[in-house]
């Protein structure tokens, strides 16, 4: 029979260029057949092929039993294939692992030293807690095997055992320690032990302190740089516990730094000094200062060294670790670090970026940000560059391909590394992170480092152009994309920042409005949003909001309105469209609400034209699939229809003879919708500071008869004739409806003095006399006294006329930097005089080169002291939640932290307790087993009794039987027929017994008391049910 060996498979793969998939499928089919063959050679070959194909993503878990078969082969060559297959394909849930246990034990005890290596290398990959327990006894003797190679493999294997079964260390650790302390031990074994100790060390450093003298000896002996690196790493976890070590370590570390030719050792020395806190501990002493200077100068040298980017990378890593404690030392080397921001290598750039964020201050912020911006501008968008590579991701796996060029593959891989040298485009995630960092740097501590907000607004507009396309086309599987969609894009963040500035820094509001206008203008759209993916579009929401809110400051509101109403706007995402819809009437108001000039014919025409355009834009949107868009469109559409009515019916001043009032709907009613309170930033913790009113009981239904009311409402609508009204309202010509609305507009005329007041706070649509108004206000204030969302107009001084405020500020009336007003919402000050000045700000901008001062409004909050606790709880939260999520390749070693290894009494005490507990458990177990046995016997007896009693009224027969039985026993010559009957009964009895025994087994497996037995399954069932309900 023809069969392929592994070489033929690989050759075949290479020959079937273009249709590898089919070839592989064919090969897999063959393997399936071959692996079932009786011939072990064939089996092993098939397995080898499967392992090869597994590398390309072809699952071989179905062959796990065959893997086991090959593993148990007596021939080493085949055994090796089996073990390799086990390493590559067994998963924690592989069932045959249970069966493998004995085989592993057997091979561990093999006389052949080569064979022993196989299970030693395999166990770390397949181990689980129960297996660890049983393999332990076979592994520990291997620690004293004559071959060093086996000893060191055993040590590492025991470490992996300990990870899943921490108890391993109890018997194993003393032996491992002896090996470490043994000076005649093979150096490679010592090195392996140091590696293991280094892994264990950070979990329980206190247990390894006793080893410090030996480790120190190993470090100073030198010879093995690999081991020295690990020892230094270990020491860096020990020094925080034992301060005396610092002094001891300083001289050898310093001398290593000065003398070693190995860069890796040099670096790890510096790293160890930093991480172990040696720099802090030795601060002030002469050696300490010397070592700090030495470290930093070496690190600096690593940064500037030519031609070795690796050193630059690790040096930046080390710098990052120092910044938190020695920011001043790091900033001395600012110049070289800043150079790294522009490094050709993105890994280095990212590191440098991390570092720079930590050392930013008011003086270097602008330079750094400009540098980053330039970088973004020059790099160009990268979205399409790696496309061919990413195509592969959409396949299920990697297909074994025929290779392009065999000449290439024969090139020796020995020579120095070679790489292609094309310039890399900036990947999107780097772009994103740069933008985020810029925003972080600038906005940190409420813009403490920003001196020039006009510049900052310019930066923000620039950033919009640099935003990467929204859906990360890289797409590692579809779920990634959906995650990306859920997250707010970086453009949103830029928008939020712009909005934040516009709200907080009143002085630059005109500039912010200008920026918003630039972003919104249709003519400039190509410039700002060049990428087809809609990179920076997220910013439009904020821009539209700014344009609407500060419409009066727009340089060209009409152009903005035109752009907002552009037909392409309707195609935007719903979230943007919502913001647009809100902005449109606001800008419209800014254009039409002027009441100081007369209502001329031209004004009327412009207004009607604008209205017509808005109506035209809104009409299709009333059918938008997004409900929010739909609702707003409907609302404003009707408002606009009213406005249109008002504008066309209002008398214009004919021939300019008299002053004609513009329609009040335009000048008063609609503006009042939008010009309420001024917006102020509110601290995120403010809400928590609102005291709960005592009389508020959230458990009491607001309306106890809600259910009834709802039912009533349901039945009402059925009977009502509202549908026709609604129909009329929406479908008849607008002119029919306007008559009803004309009246309030006209009524407004009666109270012109109210309208003239600068305040639009209280949006009256009805005229009220002063007294009534005052009373209303008081009432309202009383009512809202405890409402954090209600900002009293009286209290918020000057907030009513943003325009006025801006002008005043811009004109420099309040240039006193120290008296920057800040909004503070204090409940206890509610009844203070209305025009009270707000308390001065706590923040003073660095006034070195202040050509213009900016006020930055702080967050509004109540009380204020809670802010810290909130942020603390926020920062605590992720740390806590992290425990739940495990990284992909992570090997969990947390089990180790509970196990003490130290030699002191505590450990003995603990282990004694442990032993006692186990003994106790065992006793209980045996007691339980005895109890079960007793019960079983009892039941059996009862069963027998029942059996004898079971036979009904034929008591005589029983008697006879008994007699006969006795007779049989006595005489031994029973009739065949009678025996048959008797045997049947016995059989029955036996069956019953068996059933009982089965029960007994069940009780055995459940160690709890026997009454628990019945409950357990029921409980689990119920739990399952509940779970389902939850999901629904």
């Amino acid at each position: 029979m023809f069969e392929k060996d592994i070489y033929q498979l690989i050759r075949g793969l290479r020959a079937h260029k273009g249709n590898e998939r089919e070839y592989i499928q064919g090969s897999l089919r063959e393997c399936r057949k071959e692996i079932r063959s009786q011939d072990m050679d064939q089996k092993a070959t098939a397995l080898m092929k499967l392992v090869y194909l597994e590398m390309f993503g072809h699952d071989m878990s179905w062959a796990s039993f065959n893997v086991l078969e090959v593993m148990s082969s007596p021939k080493y060559i085949q055994k090796r294939v089996g073990y390799l297959a086990a390493v590559q394909s067994f998963r924690p849930d592989t069932e045959v692992l249970m069966l493998a246990e004995n085989l592993l034990k057997k091979d561990l005890n093999s006389p052949d030293k080569i064979t022993i290596g196989l299970p030693l290398g395999t166990i770390p990959h397949v181990i689980n807690a129960s297996m660890a327990n049983s393999l332990l006894t076979d592994l520990i003797p291997r620690l004293s095997h004559s071959l060093p190679a086996i000893r060191k493999k055993t040590i590492v294997t025991l470490y992996r055992l300990a990870l899943v079964y921490p108890e391993t260390l109890r018997p194993a650790w003393p032996k491992i320690k002896d090996r470490l302390l043994d000076e005649n031990e093979d150096p490679s074994v010592t090195a392996a032990i140091v590696n293991v100790v280094c892994e264990l060390g950070w979990r329980r450093p206190q247990d390894f302190l006793p080893l410090a003298p030996r480790l120190f000896e190993l470090l100073t002996q030198g010879g093995n740089n690999w081991m020295a690196i690990k020892i230094i790493k270990l020491f860096s976890t020990l020094t925080p516990l034992e301060p005396r070590l610092v002094k001891k370590l300083l001289p050898p570390l310093t001398s290593i730094i000065k003398t070693t030719p190995a860069m890796s050792l040099l670096y790890e020395c510096i790293n160890g000094i930093i991480q172990g806190g040696i720099m802090d501990a030795a601060e002030g002493t002469m050696e300490g200062d010397e070592v700090a200077r030495l470290c930093l100068s070496k690190l600096r040298a690593m940064l500037v060294v030519e031609g070795d980017p690796n050193l630059r990378y690790v040096a930046l890593l080390a710098f990052t670790k120092i910044t938190s404690s020695h920011a001043d030392l790091v900033s001395q080397h600012q110049d070289v670090i800043l150079e790294c921001i522009d490094d050709a290598d993105i890994s280095i750039r990212t590191r440098a970026l991390d570092l720079v964020v930590g050392m930013i201050n008011a003086n270097n912020l602008q330079a750094v940000v400009e540098r980053l911006l330039k970088q973004l501008r020059n790099a160009g968008q990268a979205s399409d560059a790696p496309a061919p590579v990413q195509d592969r991701d959409r396949h299920e796996g990697i297909v074994a391909m025929a290779d392009e060029d065999d000449e290439d593959m024969q090139a020796s891989i020995r020579p120095k590394e070679q790489k292609s040298t094309q310039a890399p485009p900036l990947p999107d995630d780097y772009r994103t992170s740069v933008i985020e960092r810029i925003l972080d740097m600038c906005s940190s501590q409420t813009y403490a480092n920003v001196n020039d907000f006009e510049w900052y607004i310019g930066v923000l507009t620039d950033l919009v152009k640099q935003c990467p396309a929204v859906p990360s086309t890289g797409g590692f599987g579809s779920h990634q994309v959906s995650v990306a969609m859920d997250r707010p894009s970086v453009a949103d963040a830029v928008g939020a920042e712009l909005l934040n500035i516009a709200v907080r820094v009143k002085a630059v509001r005109p500039e912010a409005a200008m920026a918003a206008q630039n972003l919104l203008l249709y003519e400039q759209r190509e410039e700002f949003f060049p990428s087809a993916g809609g990179g920076g579009q997220g910013v439009l929401a904020a821009a539209a909001f700014i344009a609407g809110e500060y419409a009066s400051m727009l340089p060209d509101p009409e152009a903005v309105l035109t752009s907002l109403l552009h037909s392409s706007s309707a195609q935007l995402q719903a979230s943007l469209l919502i913001s647009y819809l809100q902005a449109i009437p606001k800008v419209f108001t800014a254009l039409t609400s002027d009441q100081s000039t007369a209502w001329t014919l031209t004004r009327q025409t412009t207004a009607t034209l604008l209205i017509a355009r808005i109506v035209h834009f809104l009409e299709p949107l009333t059918l938008h699939p997004n409900l929010d868009v739909q609702e707003r469109a409907v609302e404003y559409l009707d408002l606009m229809r009213l406005a249109s009515e008002a504008a066309s019916s209002q008398q214009t001043d004919a021939e300019g003879e008299s002053y004609a009032e513009p329609p009040l709907l335009l000048t008063q009613a609609i503006p009042s919708l939008f010009s309420g309170m001024e917006l102020n930033p509110v601290a995120s913790s403010a809400l928590r500071n609102v005291p709960q009113p005592e009389e508020l009981d959230l458990d009491v239904p607001i309306n106890s008869s809600l259910q009834m009311l709802l039912q009533q409402a349901d039945s009402d609508t059925e009977l009502d004739d509202t549908p026709t009204e609604v129909y009329k309202y929406y479908h008849e010509k607008a002119s029919a409806a306007t008559t009803t609305y004309q009246r309030p507009a006209a009524d407004l005329l009666d109270a012109p003095e109210v309208n003239r007041s600068p305040s639009y706070q209280v949006a009256e649509t009805e005229p009220l006399d002063r007294e009534a108004k005052e009373r209303l206000k008081l009432e309202r204030r009383e009512r809202y006294k405890d409402d954090p969302y209600y900002i009293d107009s009286e209290r918020a001084s000057g907030a009513s006329t943003p325009m006025h405020n801006i002008l005043r500020n811009a004109n420099g009336e309040e240039l006193d930097v120290d008296a920057i007003p800040v909004m503070e919402l204090k409940l206890d000050r509610l009844d203070l005089p209305a025009d009270r000045e707000r308390p001065a700000s706590q923040r003073v901008p660095p006034a070195k080169k202040a050509k213009r001062h900016f006020e930055i409004a702080g967050d509004e909050t109540l009380g204020g002291e809670d802010l810290q606790t909130l942020s603390a709880s926020l920062s605590r939260h992720p740390a806590g939640s992290r425990g739940g999520k495990k990284s992909l390749l992570e090997v969990d070693s947390s089990g180790l932290s509970a196990l003490s290894l130290s030699d002191d009494a505590a450990r003995n005490g603990q282990s004694r307790v442990d032993v006692e507990r186990r003994q106790h458990e065992e006793e209980e177990m045996s007691k339980a087993i005895k109890e079960v046995e007793r019960l079983r016997l009892e039941m059996q007896r009862a069963q027998e009794r029942i059996l004898t009693r079971d036979i009904p009224e034929e008591g005589t027969m029983v008697k006879r039987k008994k007699k006969k039985k006795i007779k049989v026993e006595a005489g031994g010559d029973a009739a065949a027929a009678e025996l048959g009957e008797d045997g049947g009964a016995v059989g029955k009895k036996k069956k019953k017994k068996k059933g009982e025994e089965g029960d007994a087994v069940v009780t055995d497996t459940i160690p709890a008391a026997d009454d628990g037995e019945a409950d357990v399954p029921v409980k689990t069932k119920r739990k399952k049910k509940r779970h389902v309900a939850f999901n629904e």
Partner: protein, 181 residues
């Protein structure tokens, strides 16, 4: 500790995959292709450390806080590029980045010693040897041997190392067998 060792060529074809944590085959492949995507975009002048691929990236919220738990999670991707092959090591922070680069170097030198002027073809056809060499250097994610001689000796003790099949070599002999070439 070391979490995984990967070898693939310039086209992303795997030549060796070794994970010291059990992972599903499909996840392994995803990780492989993510790393390849990252590594392939890098010019020769750049350093040998990769940012974490998306699959391994820690949850974003905890990036600032360095809890002791993070020592268990892989945080370092080190690679080296030799001719047509990329050698990648994924490890936690308990490994030294520069030492890992040397470790890769030792691995490649050991292969070179065993195959005499090793090239990718040797590794394709003898991937079992690749595993054997690795097993002499790393067990269960912990480095057990860094000495070149001892590694080579350990592999040789397990049996003769086959060269690649003779007809795969540069000679004209191969033409007849590789009909599809």
């Amino acid at each position: 500790m070391i979490n995984a060792v990967l070898v693939f060529n310039n086209n992303g074809q795997p030549r060796l995959t070794k994970f010291y944590t059990q992972l599903d085959t499909s996840v392994q492949q995803r990780l492989l292709s993510e790393i390849f995507t990252l590594v392939a975009a890098r010019p020769s002048s750049s350093c040998n450390f990769l940012p974490l691929p998306p699959l391994l990236a820690p949850p974003q919220t905890s990036s600032t806080t360095t809890s002791p738990e993070s020592n268990d999670a892989p945080s370092l991707v080190t690679y080296r590029h030799y001719a047509t092959l990329y050698f990648i090591v994924i490890s936690t922070s308990t490994e030294s980045p520069l030492a890992l680069l040397d470790l890769i170097q030792v691995y490649v030198e050991a292969l070179d010693r065993l195959f005499e002027n090793v090239c990718e073809l040797d590794l394709i056809f003898n991937f079992e040897t690749l595993h054997a060499v690795l097993a002499e250097m790393i067990v269960g994610g912990v480095v057990i041997e860094t000495g070149l001689d001892k590694v080579v000796e350990g592999v040789r003790a397990q049996g003769r190392v086959a060269k690649r099949p003779i007809n795969e070599s540069r000679g004209g002999l191969s033409q007849g067998i590789w009909a599809g070439r």
